[in-house]
Symmetry: C2
Subunit: 451 residues, 2 copies
């Protein structure tokens, strides 16, 4: 019998609302607070930096569903639904009885899930009279997505790209320029924050923290300019729930429900995107799905970080956020999964971990590339180095099933493809990559710097 | 009213046969002939180089339909059907009343249509006891597709990549290596043909012609090794008709039928793939669709070449083929559309042009990138430099409609994405690209060298 491989929703089956997990969380996240006054911040406070509508999404704990604006839905229909795919070939290679599914966000324009939030953020900015948007980007996936979204909604776009990622993935800067964006390596001499960082450490490879500082400085010193963020924040995860809401319908088409949901973890946007819609059935007690966030061994905030208020950026421009963090000065190793080199976890995720609804696992760099190679050679898609962490965690679970004989249903999010990360694969194939474990002493030293 | 953007077939709606246009052609193509004996070649002759089943496909003029083997169908279902997309945003940017559709082959594994023929070729080789496959590749799209197909069907794979393309697109070699292929730049010192070429011209940038010579030499001097080709030949176009057969069903879903079908043109595989299934309704007189093959101005075999018997490769290892050609020693300019730098057109296409069923248009390099930039900024997909030629031809037709007010339905094939060709876009944005027209004298001189 022919086994169905891919599940795709028709346009009229597509979700028309995003899911706001905050409305259902048993313990609500604590608020962001002002670093000086230590007062909780309001949506109005946040709207000085972000689009007002996004600021509203950020703090809302009442509304379970937010309508996706029609102009955003129209652009979603350019590429969504993305396929839900049964990874038969991977299962066979592993010899596992597990059923492995992946949501293929790699076929999105620009090659990753990031576009799902770039579109609404730019749409709201445009609606509110903003003319310029700015942002940071690590591997460049977010910057590329924002550049395209800005172009189609008629906004100017300036991107600060983490310097080391810019060197590792020069094509991503070219992609951003193809959409008309101005791209600057961070830390740069174009902002006060950048100058301070370079002065202290001329060889600083950059991090999401440094790039965020520079982008926020540009936004707050430029008229009609708003800052946008591709991860970490609640409203970004909200927009990304389109992934999980589609996947839920598609799993129904497949006649299954996931026992385990896995995604890689940088700030939490692709994880929240696929996990939150399924997690609501855990809150209600109806389901008992396990949720696993796969972080790199070199940046282990979920498994070895501390839950406390910390800054989102290196310079301390952001509000203080209650999160699992390695300290905002944590300088991660130069692994190729640039999108996972962030010191903190999103506020919602941090609370969910604290409450035991999900957990993190650490993946060494070499294990992640082993997983990516196997996935490529079986399923034909070369994954982003970030996504390789989700695949590695999936393989671990599938091999457990092989031992126990359990036919678990595992769903992971393939957040993006790695066609622009071939330097990394080259180095892996040539044996030039290594693992970067972090010592307890290094973590202790960083955690001490948290205010 | 919500306008549908994408049309996707469910797995049970997918075509299960390929369409063999030779069965319906009013004038059958002339046979390939042996260069020495000048005798027509049989399928058995060809099977010394190619898989026997492919050799049979190549010469068959009887069977309108060939069943797609189930193991190939299974792998097609990993990514097919590809979406048929209505390019509303491009239409709007052009202000054209035309309805523009594109078949999005860029979402295939490895980013282009090439996989559609790589899978059956490797499947047949495996079935027939072959252990090694070899091939040439220009831009690297074919080599990447073959590397993956060889891996999943358990074959060793050796690829000769055109030297200039290898330098322009280093990531494509990495992709092939990720799938375990051995990659060599052509011309190389590893074959007699390569040595001869380098001896005459040490700076030879390589061409599909040189790489084919080397791959054929390797295949014919290695036991259990077959040669495979990604374009030009009839059986390759046969396999690619999956594109047009899907598109035909998808156009029905959209309630339209194309007045114009457009594809870029290197050897003819993506053109034949999308065009042939529609063209059969022209043969029957039922439809009067216009078919346009978009070739680069720098390699104008369709519009300025000569119809005659010529070699498929530089060294003269292949049979003589009846085709529009610029001469097998034609050395095309180093444009970025590496896949379009081939001196001849496929045998079927050549006959169809001769008989007036289709025609070519020449696209200058700068016009092709202008078109690609507009497409990226409207539809969100950065096209391969090859595909940009199809988009440029589409834009020409759409602008004609703007002048005449005609609501023509235009369908083009987006044969691949350009995410690995960002160097080309970078150079275009920086103003470092140029056009390469060919003079009549240059063409005359080359045509004289044809035997």
């Amino acid at each position: 019998m022919k086994k169905q491989k891919r599940f795709i929703l028709s346009e009229n089956e597509m979700p028309t609302q995003w899911y706001n997990i905050q409305a259902d969380m048993p313990t609500k996240p604590m608020p962001p607070i002002h670093p000086q006054t230590r007062e909780p911040l309001s949506a109005e406070d946040l709207s000085h930096i972000f689009a007002a509508e996004c600021a509203k999404h950020e703090l809302d704990q009442q509304h379970r569903w937010w309508n996706i604006p029609e102009p955003v839905l129209e652009k979603y229909r350019y590429y969504r639904s993305t396929p839900l795919v049964r990874a038969y070939a991977l299962e066979q290679a592993l010899g596992t009885p597990a059923h492995i599914y992946f949501k293929n966000e790699s076929v999105n324009p620009l090659g990753s899930h990031k576009i799902n939030s770039a579109l609404p953020q730019c749409y709201y900015c445009k609606e509110e009279g903003t003319t310029n948007v700015t942002t940071e980007t690590g591997a460049g996936q977010w910057g590329a997505a924002l550049s395209y979204a800005a172009k189609i909604f008629g906004l100017e776009c300036a991107v600060y790209q983490v310097k080391i990622s810019m060197q590792q993935k020069p094509y991503r800067s070219s992609i951003m320029r193809t959409f008309g964006a101005a791209v600057t390596g961070s830390p740069s001499m174009s902002t006060r924050a950048g100058k301070d960082i370079i002065t202290k450490d001329p060889n600083h490879p950059g991090s999401l923290g440094t790039a965020i500082s520079e982008a926020i400085e540009l936004a707050t010193t430029t008229p009609h300019c708003k800052y946008t963020l591709g991860s970490v924040l609640n409203h970004v995860a909200l927009h990304q729930t389109i992934i999980g809401l589609e996947a839920e319908k598609q799993m129904q088409m497949a006649g299954e429900y996931p026992d385990v949901v896995i995604a890689c973890f940088g700030g939490g946007s692709n994880f929240g995107g696929i996990a939150f819609p399924f997690m609501r059935h855990n809150f209600s007690g109806e389901r008992h799905t396990e949720f696993i966030a796969a972080e790199p061994e070199s940046c282990p905030k979920l498994t070895r970080g501390k839950f406390c208020y910390d800054f989102g950026d290196t310079a301390g421009y952001t509000p203080l956020l209650p999160m699992f963090t390695l300290g905002h000065n944590f300088k991660p190793a130069n692994i190729h999964a640039g999108g996972l080199r962030y010191h903190g976890a999103g506020v919602i995720i941090s609370q969910l971990i604290k409450d035991g609804f999900m957990h993190g696992v650490d993946i060494p760099q070499l294990e992640s590339f082993d997983a990516g190679m196997l996935f490529a050679q079986t399923e034909g898609i070369i994954p982003a180095p970030e996504s390789n962490h989700a695949i590695a965690a999936t393989i671990r679970e599938a091999l457990k099933c092989k031992q126990t004989g359990e036919e678990k249903v595992i769903l992971f999010n393939l957040s993006g493809h790695g066609l622009i990360d071939m330097t990394a694969y080259d180095q892996f194939i040539n044996g030039d990559l290594m693992n970067f474990a972090v010592t307890d002493e290094q973590i202790e030293a960083q955690l001490k710097t948290i205010v």
